[in-house]
C-alpha cells in the first residue's frame, strides 16, 4: 500500500483497524541472484538500493530472528556527519543527504528530525581540536559551527557551565544532525524493498555456506539451502562468527554497548548534546524520555547485556553535565553487541572468499550510516567494485597501512 494523507484519514475514520502489513513475510525460494545475511538496517537498505538503483530485485534478506531485533532496534538513534577524516567524512555526509530524502524515497515516515548535535568542549586544546574538525567538515561541504560558551548557554541553559573540573567553554554544532525513529527505518526499508519484490525471510539463521569450485554458491540455513550467485553479510556484532563459517578471520572484536531511557519529561533538550570531557551523550525522545549512553563495557562480549561499572560511569557523566537529572528515574537499560573494528571504522568490501561480500565493523556509529552503507554495499554487490564514496573502507587497508583511525587509538578496539 502507498501511504498518504488520504490513506491516513481513511484509516483514522475506520478506527485504524484496516492497516495492511507494510511488507511481505516471505518463505525462502531455492535460489536468488543475491542473498543478504542480516535483516537489520544495513541488510534491508542494501536490498532496497539493489532493487531501486541497480535493478536487481531477485534478492532475499535472511534474518535469524525478526527484522530489527539486532542493533537496528536497540541504538540511541543519532544521525550526524561530523567526522574528521577524509574517507569517513565523505561517506557519512552521503548518508546524511540520503537521510534528508529518505521518507519521500521510501514512502514511509521514519521521523527524521534534524534537531542538531552539539559536542561540548571544556579546554583550549579541545576547542582547537573541534575547530580543526569543523574546518575539515566545512572543507568537505558539511555544515559546522564553532560556538562559544554564551552561544551554548542560549541553546541549553540547564548545563553546568561552571563545573569545577570541566567548565563548558563552548561546542561544535552540526545543525543538520539529529535523530530518526530506528524501528521505522527498518520497517521503511523493508516496506520499500518488499514492494520491489525482495523476499524478507525471518527466523532463518545462516549456519553454513555452499561452495562451488572455491566460490560461495549459497547459504545453509535453519530453513533449508538457498543458492545464490552472490552473498552479502551485514550481521553487525556477529560478523566474526559468520566469517568463521566461511573460513576467514576479520580485524574485529565484538563488544557490548549499553543505553538508557529515563521517565518522560516535558520538552527540555533541544537536540543531541555530548559531553566532551567524558563519554556521555543525550537526546530526548518524542515521548519525552531522555535517551542516553556512554562508553562500551570494554571486553569481548556476545552476552547482549552489560555490567554495572559502565552504568555508574555513564550516570556520573550525566550528573557532571546536568546535575538536575539526579532526581530522574531510569526506566530501562539494555545492551547491544557491536563489531568493534581495529581502527574504529567500518568495512565494505569483497571478502577473501569469492562470491562473499562483507559489510561490517560499524562500531557504535552504524545507525547513521544505514543509508550510505546500503547504497555502497548494493553498488559493490551489483558491480563487483567499490562505490567511489566507500573506497577508503576496504578490508585490505589494515595490511597496507591505510587505517581510518578517527581517534588515533591504534589496534585496540575497546579504546575506539
Amino acid at each position: 500500500m502507498r501511504h498518504s494523507i488520504l490513506s491516513l484519514a481513511l484509516n483514522a475514520l475506520s478506527g485504524h483497524r484496516r492497516w495492511q502489513p507494510t511488507w511481505r513475510d516471505a518463505a525462502p525460494k531455492p535460489a536468488y541472484d543475491v542473498v543478504i545475511i542480516g535483516g537489520g538496517g544495513h541488510g534491508l537498505a542494501t536490498a532496497h538500493y539493489l532493487a531501486s538503483r541497480y535493478g536487481i530485485a531477485n534478492v532475499a534478506v535472511v534474518e535469524k530472528g525478526w527484522i530489527g531485533s539486532g542493533n537496528a532496534g536497540r541504538n540511541t538513534t543519532i544521525i550526524r556527519s561530523n567526522y574528521l577524516l577524509p574517507g569517513n567524512n565523505h561517506f557519512y555526509e552521503l548518508s546524511m543527504k540520503l537521510w534528508e530524502g529518505l521518507e519521500q524515497e521510501l514512502n514511509y515516515n521514519a521521523m527524521v528530525s534534524q534537531r542538531g548535535i552539539v559536542n561540548l568542549y571544556h579546554s583550549d586544546g579541545q576547542r582547537d581540536a573541534y575547530a580543526r574538525r569543523g574546518n575539515s567538515m566545512r572543507l568537505h561541504g558539511v555544515d559546522a559551527e564553532l560556538l562559544d560558551r554564551e552561544q551554548v548557554r542560549a541553546m541549553a541553559p540547564f548545563l553546568d557551565f561552571d563545573n569545577a573540573r570541566f567548565p563548558i567553554k563552548g561546542g561544535l554544532l552540526q545543525r543538520r544532525a539529529g535523530t530518526a525513529r530506528h524501528d521505522a527505518v527498518v520497517w521503511g526499508y523493508a516496506h520499500a524493498a518488499s514492494k520491489r519484490g525482495v523476499d524478507i525471510i525471518q527466523n532463518c539463521e545462516v549456519t553454513g555456506f555452499l561452495h562451488d569450485g572455491g566460490r560461495i554458491a549459497g547459504v545453509e540455513t535453519t530453513r533449508g539451502t538457498i543458492r545464490a550467485a552472490k552473498v552479502g553479510m551485514a550481521v553487525a556484532g556477529h560478523s566474526s562468527r559468520v566469517a568463521a563459517l566461511a573460513g576467514f578471520r576479520l580485524p574485529i572484536e565484538s563488544h557490548v554497548l549499553q543505553a538508557f531511557v529515563s521517565e518522560a519529561l516535558k520538552p527540555l533538550i533541544p537536540g543531541v548534546i555530548t559531553f566532551g570531557a567524558g563519554h556521555f551523550y543525550v537526546s530526548q525522545s518524542d515521548k519525552g524520555g531522555l535517551v542516553f549512553g556512554g562508553d562500551i563495557d570494554g571486553y569481548n562480549s556476545y552476552a547482549q547485556r552489560g555490567n554495572l561499572p559502565v552504568i555508574e560511569d555513564v550516570a556520573e557523566g550525566g550528573m557532571a553535565l546536568m546535575p538536575m537529572i539526579g532526581r530522574l528515574r531510569l526506566l530501562r537499560a539494555w545492551g547491544g553487541i557491536m563489531d568493534m573494528s581495529m581502527d574504529g571504522s567500518p568495512i565494505i568490501d569483497a571478502s577473501p572468499v569469492p562470491g562473499l561480500y562483507v559489510n561490517a565493523g560499524w562500531c557504535y556509529g552504524g545507525f547513521k550510516a544505514i543509508p550510505a552503507s546500503g547504497l555502497c554495499f548494493a553498488h559493490l554487490l551489483a558491480r563487483g567494485e567499490p562505490h567511489p564514496t566507500a573506497a577508503a573502507l576496504r578490508l585490505d587497508r589494515f595490511e597496507r597501512g591505510y587505517l581510518l583511525d578517527e581517534k588515533g587509538q591504534g589496534a585496540q578496539p575497546n579504546l575506539h
Binding site: 562468527r241 574485529i252 570494554g298 569481548n300 556476545y302 552476552a303 589494515f398 595490511e399
Partner: protein, 86 residues
C-alpha cells in the same frame, strides 16, 4: 562482573584493564613472511562466542597480568591464572 584474581581474590572488574585475546604471540621478526605475520597478530582476531582466553591487568590491585578464561556469551569466568605461569 567479578574476576577471581589468584593473588587478591574476587574483585570488581572495574579494578582491571583489558588487553584482549591472550593467544596472540609476537611473531618472529626474522621470519621470511614477517610482514604478513605481524599484520595477522596486530589486526586479525578469532573473536569467539564462548570460552575466550584473555589478558586482564589488575591495575588497582596486585598489578599482575592475568590470563582469564571467560565465556563471552554469559560473562561466566571459567579460570584465572597469572600470565607468567605455564
Amino acid at each position: 562482573m567479578r574476576l577471581p584474581c589468584p593473588f587478591c581474590g574476587p574483585r570488581d572488574s572495574a579494578e582491571f584493564a583489558y588487553l584482549g585475546d591472550a593467544a596472540i604471540a609476537r611473531p618472529d621478526a626474522a621470519a621470511p613472511d614477517a610482514p604478513r605475520l605481524f599484520y595477522e597478530a596486530t589486526y586479525l582476531r578469532d573473536n569467539p562466542a564462548g570460552p575466550h582466553r584473555e589478558h586482564w591487568y589488575h591495575a588497582a590491585g596486585c598489578r599482575q597480568w592475568l590470563v582469564v578464561t571467560r565465556d563471552t556469551t554469559s560473562h561466566e569466568i571459567l579460570a584465572a591464572a597469572f600470565a607468567r605461569q605455564p
